[in-house]
Every structure is written in C-alpha cells, then in structure tokens.
C-alpha cells in the first residue's frame, strides 16, 4: 500500500489532469497502441529476415522470449483476477490489497527481467545485423539496421508514455475499487477496453496480427479467471475484455512501481546500452570503411613519393641503431669472463650464474677500493721526493710551515717511535727464512715495517717537485680521506646495485605469490642450456620444484588442519631448537672472545717454543672463527629440520642464523680488540696513545706498541685464513670426494649415500660477503687489504668455476634468479653497515698511537683521528670555516634528521598509495577481462545464430 501511495504522490499532477479530461486519456491510449503496434510492425519484417537469413535459431529464440513474455502476461493477469474473485469479502480487503502489492512486486521483477531479456535480444540482433552489414557490405542492410534502432527508440518512448497513462487509469480504477462500487467499475472498464479492442480490430491487418500476439494468452487467462471467480460468463467479449483489463492493470501497476523504485537508474542504463551499441556500430562501420579505403588506395599509398629528408632521417636512425648494436657487441666481448658465464649458464642455469656475477661485481668493487686506497696512501708515500726513509729522520717541525704541530708533541712522537722501533728490532731475527715465512702469514716481524700496515706511514709535509715549496701533502688527511672515499664508493655502488635488486624484488613481491606457478611453467626452462647433463638436471629440478610447490600447498593445508596438541608439540620443539641455536651462537661468540683474550697470555707462556707453534697460537682466534663458521652452520642446517617450517622460510632462517653468526663473530672480535686497545689495564703503562704500552710487574701478557697495526694484523690473518681454507678444502675435500664418488658409488652404498658435492649457493655467497666485510673493516689498518680481496676474488673465480663445473652437481632446491641477487646485496648491505659502525666510532673517539702511523704527531691534547679534518678546516678562510662549522652543530643536525624522517615518511605513504592503486588496477583488469569474456560470448552467440552451428571462434 505504501508503495502505491508513493507513486500516487509522484504522479499527482497527471492524475489530476486525467480526471478532468478523460477523453484525452483514451485518445492517448489509442495513440500509444498505434505507435507500439507500428513498432512491432517495423520489427516484423526484420524477424522474417532473420528467419530466412540467420536460420531458425534466432527465430526460435525470439519466439521463446515472446513465449516468456506472454507467460508473464499470464502471471500478471492472474493477480487481479484473484483479487476480483475475492472482492466480495469486504473484511479481507486489506489483506488482499497487501497480497496484491506483494504480487505486484514479484511481477515487477518478472517484467524487469523480461525487459532485460528484450534488451539483450535487441543487442544481439544489432550485433548480428552489424556482422551482416560487415560481411555483405550491403547498404540495404545498414538502412534496415538504422531503422531497427530508430523504431526501437520510438517504441520505447511510446511505451513509456502509454504506461504513464495507463497508470493514471489504474489509479482511477483503484479509486473506484475502494469505493466499493466494484461492479460498476468493472462494467465501465469493460466498456473501455471493449471499445479499444474494437478499435484495434478496425485497424490494418498487421495491427490485428500484433494484437493477436499480444492478447492471445489473455484469452486463456480469461478462462482461468472465470474459474477463479466462479461466475458464469455472460458474454465472451465481456470476459475477454475484463481479463484484458486486469492484465493491463497489473502491468501498469508493476510498471509504476518499477518507476518509483528505479526512477533514476533505469533510463541512464538504457541510454548507456544504446550508446554502447551505437559506438560499436560506428566502430564496425569505420573498420569497414578503412578496409575499403585501404583496398582502394593501397596502390596510391605505395606509389606516394617519400620525401628525401625522411629517407635521410630513416637512414641515420638505422645507422645509429647499428652503431649502438655493434658497440654493445664489442663491449660484450670485452666483458670480463663472458665466456665463462656462458659455460656455467649452460651447465647450471642462471641461478648459479648469479653467484659468479656477484663475484665479478665484488671484484670490481674491490678494484675501485684498491685504486682509492693505494692511490691516496701508498703511491704518494713511495714516490715522494727528498724522502726521509723513516720518521726519525724527518726534519723538525719548526722548519715546516705547519701551525699545529707543537714542539712538545713532536718530541714525544719521536721518542715513542724510537721505543717502538727498538722493540720491533728486538723481536725479529731477519736472517731466518722460516720465521720470515711465518711472519708473512702473521703480518708480524719484517712485514710490520712495510707499507702493508698503518704503522709505517708518517705524516711528513713535503714539497712536490713541480710546485716547489708551494704544495704540501698531508698524509694523515689523505689517509682519512682515502678511507672515507673507499666507504663512499662502496656505499654508492651498493645503493646502485641494491636499488636494482629492490626494484625487481618489489615487482616480484607484488606478483610473486600470484604468478608462482606461471613463472615456473612459462619461464622455467632456461633456453640457454645446451648440455645434455644440464638439461637432465634442469628437468629434474623443475619437476622437483613443482613437486615442492605442491608439497607446499599440502603443507599449508596441513598447517591449517593442525590440532592443538600438534601445535603445542611443534611450538615447544621450536622453542627448544631456538634456545639451542641461541646457545650455540652465544657459545661460539664467547669462544671467539675467549680465544682472543687468551691469545696474549698464551703467547707469553709459550714464549720459548718453536716458532711454528707460536704461529699456531697467533692464529688461534682466526682459526676459531673460521672453524666455527664451518661447523656451526652445518649444525644449524640439521636443527632447522626439526622445526617443520615451510621450505622457503626454512632456508631463509638458516641463512639468517648463519649471517648472524658470521657478522657477530666479527663484531665480537672487534669488541675484544677494542677492549684491549681502549680500556685501562692494571699491568700496563698507558703511554704514547697505547693502553698496553709497557708491562709493569712482569705480567705474562705482551705489550702492544702500535695498536692500529695490531688490529690490522688480526684482520690480515683472518683474510689469509679465509683465502687458504676454501682453497685447501677445494683441493683436499671436494676434488677427492668426486673421485671417490666416481670410482666407488656403484660398489659401496655409503659412498652413494654421501652423494656428490652439491653447490651450496647461500653458503658460497656468505663466504664472499664475509670476505668483503673483512675488507671494509680492515682497510684503514691495512691499506693493502682491498688489493688482497681483489686478488682473492680473481683467483677464486677460477677455483670456484673449476670446482663447480667439475666437482659439483646442481643444488636440489635452487634459488630463484631474480630473488637471489637482491638477497645477496641485502646481506652485503647489512655487513657494510656493520663494518661502518666501528670505523666511524673509532675515527670519532679514539686517540691514535704516538709511536706509529700518520697521526703520531698530535696537534692537541686528547687528539683524535677526526682532528686532522678539523685542523684542515681551520686553515680555510673564515667564511668557509663558518660554513663547515655549521655542519657540526645541533642546529644543522636536528633539522636535517627531521627532514630526512619527513621525506622517508612521505615516500612510505606514497608507496602504500601505489600499492593500493596497483591493487585497484588489478581489480579493474579482472573486471575488464570479465567484460571481454561477456562480449566475446555475445559475439559468439551471434555467430552461432548466423551459421546455425558452432563454427569455431572468430579469428581476431
């Protein structure tokens, strides 16, 4: 009821009008019928053409739709008839009205669906027709097409208008109905409709035809109505018209309701569909025109003279492209190890290749570091003219122009240096070749004198030969700047490379989960593989990977279905394992610390034993670290299997633990060295910038006379060991293992079980990262270290290549190429930051030795490394001084940090926004895909109608 009222409000005006002028309404009604009939008429021939042209299918479909429509008519007519049947019962009037409303609602839906159906048929028709037009290029067809659309439009409009009017009438009816004068109203209506029917019968033949279609079923309904009403029909025409009227009423009512509900949405929707159809037609027509056009004008287009400048431009472009390609080609051939890459790629695929590529990248990094370090420190030191060979011979600072080296400090440095050199001379016996070799390994003895270590350099401001007396070289400053430059170079190269990695990993992350299988199926096979063995391995690999993924899925399901008990058990196991791992970590770190601290003790205790034993003792901390690095990761690898993680995560966590062990062991080493260098000790005299300058009370520990060199020696030893151990392992373990396997794997089960050496990519990468970390940590104390790592990388490339190609089989679970590279760089970045920390701390807080190194002459009390730079700034003009001074104040740092935070936040927010947008776009894409599918299905249907069968998909 409420709905009817609503509609009443809507149509208040027209209703009023209608009341006044009844005749006009009737005329309107008449006009509507005419126009709608005309519309149907216009469509009839089209239907016939479809029968003839498009085969019977479409016709069948159309008739089916019509049947459905009439079915709805039937249903619609049912409602009022029921109502009328019950109308005598006044008490139930309200109930009935309600029921009627609900019926009407259901009919609304039905009518809506019919209209939709109708529209769809129209669109199909349009499409079929357009395809026809396209196919036959006949103008008649097109004309007809436009006719269809126009009639459609007309029909639609007239229908709406008519429905409005009907609605008014409906209201009138309702009024009467409620006034109780139902008989009267019935009669009146009958008269109305009867008259109209007669009118329609008076029309043309076609008109009658359409009327028949429209009202055939209402005849049947009429009979139904009779049964319901249990009232004997007096007159066929009366009955006919009555049922007719009721059906009309129902439709009009439902229409009006629909209008009230969808008043705004409906027309726009229809318009959209119409627009769409029109656009499509246009496009098709355009395509047709284009085709014709090209057909006609093809020859002309081909013969059209091309401008000379265009030809010239084209040629230039072509030549440039050629040049670029050739240059690329040449560069490619000049590229280091490209042949080796091809070989490795051929046998092991791209994932192993990334390791070698990483190695080559490190090689270049170390090359740059080497150039920077040696170029700024060693080369000027060696080539300087008028050199004093030792600091002791250098002229007194009074003769130089330096303002900051006071007499006292210079004398002090001179004394300390004398003491240190005397101490060194006592320790070494230069005649013995064996001990010389041992010294080489340890970096002690004769080596301590060389340019290899920090201690030898001294700050002598000397004049260059070309600009005599004008230019001076400040070795201390140069040394600091070289270190800074080395770190900056590494930083920029790292950032550049990791940006590349991050880019690909972000891309990966976005779709990694989504296209996991596709990546394997479509990008899985490495087309580079040209070796039978490798191909076999790759096949096996892919199978395993796919199986692994399937297992993953199963594991996921398993995890979902875990019971509480299982969960509790698993978590307790994980807690235990993590505790054990933590224990191992702490234990091994303590071991390193202990070994380092005990070193000096032991040195004293075994002071008289054979030098080889002494060397072994010297190597104790390094050996401990190296051994731990070999053994503990294996234990971690075994332990993680109990934890029942997902395979990918399992690998990551093992890697993480190993990284922690490696870097932490280095940090512990640095920490213990720091303790030795900086803290005060009971048994030592603190002098000359060294806390352990001289022993008192005859303690067992050896003094440290130049702590920078001492630290350098420790790292030097680690590097030597790091170089030798894998080298030895390769030739003593891996090579024989392969031989044993080849000989005996058929005979002995044990050998077969042991299997062949598998290339452990993460471990190999970790080794490289570790070496690089050592290089960063040590380059200040030992400027030759970058060169050593450079050489190491170079030699190791061939060693690793040899062992990979000969001794190893492919890893069972290979890394994904794209992911692994970014992972390597990430790990390297962490190690870079970790090695940066101690270095900056040291330069900013610790005083250098006064007995050695380029900083031995202090300019102030409590001199630190960084004071060198400060002194440099003091020599600048005052404005520049002020400028640099600002950098050191809080007024600069706080806004700078604030600004950085702000930018970081901004980019984070932006990234989140982009992510969301990407998600939306993905959804859009899916929607579009669905749209496309829908349209294709429609076109397909159209084809089916044309051909009568399914001929296959149209070839787009």
């Amino acid at each position: 009821m409420s709905q009817t009222k609503q509609t009443e409000e809507h149509e208040d005006g027209p209703m009023h009008l209608q009341k006044e002028d009844k005749n006009e309404v009737e005329q309107n009604e008449l006009r509507f019928r005419r126009t709608s009939q005309a519309a149907i008429l216009a469509q009839l021939p089209s239907r016939q053409t479809f029968f003839s042209e498009a085969g019977f299918t479409l016709g069948r479909r159309l008739s089916c739709i019509e049947r459905r429509k009439s079915h709805l008519h039937q249903r619609a007519s049912m409602t009022p008839s029921i109502a009328v049947g019950m109308e005598e019962d006044d008490d139930e009037e309200m109930v009935m009205a309600n029921r009627r409303v609900s019926h009407a609602v259901s009919i609304t839906d039905g009518v809506k669906s019919i209209t939709d159906q109708w529209e769809r048929t129209q669109s199909i028709k349009a499409m079929v027709a357009s395809i026809h037009t396209k196919r036959k290029y006949s103008d008649n067809e097109e004309e007809y097409q436009t006719k269809i659309s126009s009639t459609q439009a007309r029909g639609h409009n007239s229908q709406q208008r008519a429905f409005n009017e009907r609605y008014r009438e409906d209201d009138q009816f309702e009024e009467r109905f409620y006034s109780g004068d139902s008989q009267n109203s019935d009669r009146e209506l009958t008269k109305d409709f009867g008259g109209r029917d007669r009118n329609s019968e008076n029309g043309s033949d076609d008109e009658t035809f359409s009327t028949r279609i429209g009202f055939d079923h209402s005849n049947l309904d009429g009979k139904d109505t009779v049964i319901v009403r249990k009232r004997k029909p007096t007159n066929i025409s009366d009955q006919h018209s009555e049922s007719d009227s009721s059906s009309l009423k129902a439709i009009s009512k439902s229409r009006s309701m629909r209008k009230s509900v969808n008043l705004n949405t409906l027309p726009s929707h229809e318009r959209r569909i119409k627009n769409f159809q029109a656009r499509k037609l246009e496009a098709l027509r355009d395509a047709k025109n284009l085709e014709e056009y090209t057909q006609i004008y093809r020859d002309e287009i081909l013969q059209e003279p091309v401008q000379r400048t265009q030809i010239w431009k084209y040629q230039q472009k072509k030549a440039w492209q050629h040049f670029k390609q050739q240059a690329k080609n040449v560069l490619y051939q000049l590229e280091l190890w490209s042949g080796a890459f091809k070989e490795i790629e051929g046998q092991f695929g791209t994932s192993v290749m990334t390791y070698f590529r990483f190695m080559r990248w490190l090689l270049f990094l170390n090359f740059y570091l080497m150039v920077v370090m040696l170029g700024l420190t060693m080369v000027p030191y060696v080539i300087k003219i008028n050199r004093p060979w030792s600091f002791l011979d250098s002229p007194h600072p009074n003769n130089t122009r330096s303002n900051f080296t006071g007499d006292d400090f210079f004398e002090k440095a001179l004394n300390c240096t004398k003491n240190y050199i005397g101490f060194l001379d006592n320790q070494t016996n230069p005649e013995d070749w064996g001990s010389k070799a041992l010294d080489t390994l340890q970096g002690t003895g004769w080596m301590e004198h060389t340019v290899l270590f920090y201690g030898t350099y001294f700050n002598k401001t000397y004049s260059l030969p070309l600009v005599e007396g004008r230019l001076t070289y400040n070795m201390g400053l140069s040394y600091l700047l070289a270190t800074g430059a080395a770190f900056l170079v590494s930083f920029f190269l790292l950032v550049k490379n990791s940006a590349k990695g991050v880019k690909s990993s972000v891309l990966d992350e976005g779709s990694g989960q989504m296209t996991q299988f596709c990546n394997k199926v479509f990008g899985g096979w490495d087309f580079c593989i040209s070796n039978q063995k490798a191909a076999k391995e790759k096949h096996k690999n892919l199978t395993q990977e796919l199986r692994g993924d399937l297992d993953n899925q199963k594991l996921l399901w398993k995890i979902e279905n875990r019971t509480t008990r299982e969960k509790a058990k698993l978590y307790s196991i994980r807690v235990v394992v993590n505790t054990v791992v933590l224990g191992f970590l702490v234990g091994s770190l303590y071991l390193i610390y202990y070994a380092n601290n005990k070193l000096i003790d032991l040195q004293r205790e075994f002071g008289d034993v054979h030098p080889i034993v002494q060397t072994l003792i010297q190597f104790m901390p390094s050996v401990t670290i190296t051994l731990l690095n070999i053994i503990v990761p294996i234990i971690f690898k075994k332990l993680v299997e109990f934890e029942d993680y997902m395979p990918a995560f399992q690998m990551q966590i093992t890697l993480l633990r190993t990284v922690i062990l490696r870097l932490a062991s280095l940090l512990v080493l640095m920490g213990s060295l720091y303790g030795m260098v900086v803290e005060d000790h009971d048994h030592f005299v603190d002098d000359c910038g060294n806390k352990r300058w001289q022993t008192i009370n005859n303690t067992s520990e050896a003094p440290i006379k130049c702590w920078e060199t001492y630290v350098g020696q420790q790292i030097y030893k680690l590097i030597i060991l790091d170089f030798l151990v894998p080298f030895v392992l390769t030739f003593i373990v891996e090579y024989p293992r392969r031989l044993v396997y080849q000989r005996f794997h058929e005979r002995f089960k044990v050998v077969n079980m042991m299997g062949q050496q598998e290339f452990d990519l993460p471990k190999a990468v970790l080794d490289l990262v570790y070496t690089q970390t050592l290089c960063w940590m040590g380059l200040f104390f030992c400027p030759f270290i970058p060169m050593m790592s450079f050489v190491k990388c170079f030699i190791f490339f061939y060693v690793k290549k040899g062992t990979v190609l000969n001794n190893c089989i492919q890893p069972v679970r290979p890394f994904r190429t794209s992911k692994s590279n970014s992972l390597f760089i990430a790990v390297l970045f962490i190690s870079f930051i970790i090695s940066c920390g101690p270095m900056t701390y040291m330069i900013g807080t610790i005083s250098p030795s006064q007995s050695c190194g380029p900083f031995r002459v202090y300019s102030v009390e409590n001199f630190i490394f960084f004071d060198t730079i400060r002194n440099l700034i003091f020599t600048f003009p005052s404005d520049a001084q002020k400028f640099f001074h600002i950098f050191g104040t809080m007024a600069f740092f706080i806004p700078a940090i604030g600004l950085t935070c702000f930018f970081m936040y901004y980019y984070c927010v932006q990234a989140v926004g982009y992510k969301r947008r990407a998600k939306l776009l993905k959804e859009d894409l899916i929607m579009e895909g669905k749209d496309k599918q829908f349209l294709l299905a429609r076109v397909n249907e159209a084809w089916m109608y044309i051909e009568g069968t399914l001929p296959g998909y149209p070839n787009f």
């Binding site: 791209t350 891309l507 596709c518 479509f522 990008g523 096949h539 993924d549 899916i926």
Partner: protein, 189 residues
Amino acid sequence: MGNKVGVFTDEQIEAFQDCTFFTKKEILRIFRRFRELAPNAIPKVMSSVDTNRIRLPYQQVKAMTELKENPFCERICQVFSEDGTGALSFEDFLDLFSVLSEIAPRELKTVYAFKIYDFDGDNYLGKEDLRSTLRCLTRNELSEEEVEFVVEKVLEETDLDDDGKLSYIEFEHVISRSPDFMTTFHVRI
C-alpha cells in the same frame, strides 16, 4: 663487396640486418652454423631465392647444440617454419635466433613464446596446451594428478576471465610479471 665470405650480397645482408637483431658478423656466423647442419644440401653462396627455398627438415635442425636439449625444440621449429612442418629455410632459421637473441624486446618474445606454448594452434592456451607444456618441461616425470593440479593452479593465477584457457592478453599480462622470463627465454649463439 664488403663481406669476406661472399655468401650473400650486400643487399641481402642489409635486408637481414634490418629484419633481425643481428650484426653482419653474427649473420655470417649463424649462416656457418646453419651450413654445418647439412653441408651438402646448402650451397656456399646463397642467392635471395635460396635463402627462402632451401629448407632443412626438422630432424636436421634438431642437431643444433643450442636446440638439442630444449624440450620445446620441435615446437620452436614448427612455429618458425613457414609451412608449420618444422622445416626451416635460412630466413626462418635467422628469424628464430633473432627472436631468441638477448636484444629482442619482450613484446616480440612474448608473441613467439605464446605461439610455442600453443600446441594445438587455436590461439588460446587451453588446458591441453598447458599439460603438454608441463610434460615437456618435466619429461613426463610428474604424475597425471600432479600435472592436473599444476594446470589448475596456473589457470587460477592467470585466467582473468574464467574461460578455462589463456588468451594472448592474459599470457602477456602474466609474462610481463614473470621475473625470470626475460633471463631464460634467450639463446646465445
């Protein structure tokens, strides 16, 4: 004439250069490789007719080391041969390696990859195509059930319009996101 070997005229070389991603040197190298496959059937000097007319049957092309181990070798040859039998003329051969070269753009590679994976040639990667691809990849080592599962998964990931097969657009979409495709879909010659 600039070219030492004298296999082709300069015009031919230029045409090849225009149509492929290769330099002159590479084209000649590829020709050498091509001739190695059947020294008797291929003349030392190729006229412009010969490059298109003389065809090597698939069995002979298959002997290339670069292609020998490739599970899609047959499909590749079929896609690139003009008549679809797998017999390759020199032009087809050159085309093949041009598409698989490193400098070829992703779009081109995607088109040919789609053709290669489209075993039945219906312009869609249907389930049967995916199955065949998987069988090629794993040499029949996966069980039917596993293959079926993987196919389902692939379709789940890529089939945007739920029609049970991949159209070219969907394939392109997925390839543009596949990080490994560009690194793996090339042959160095």
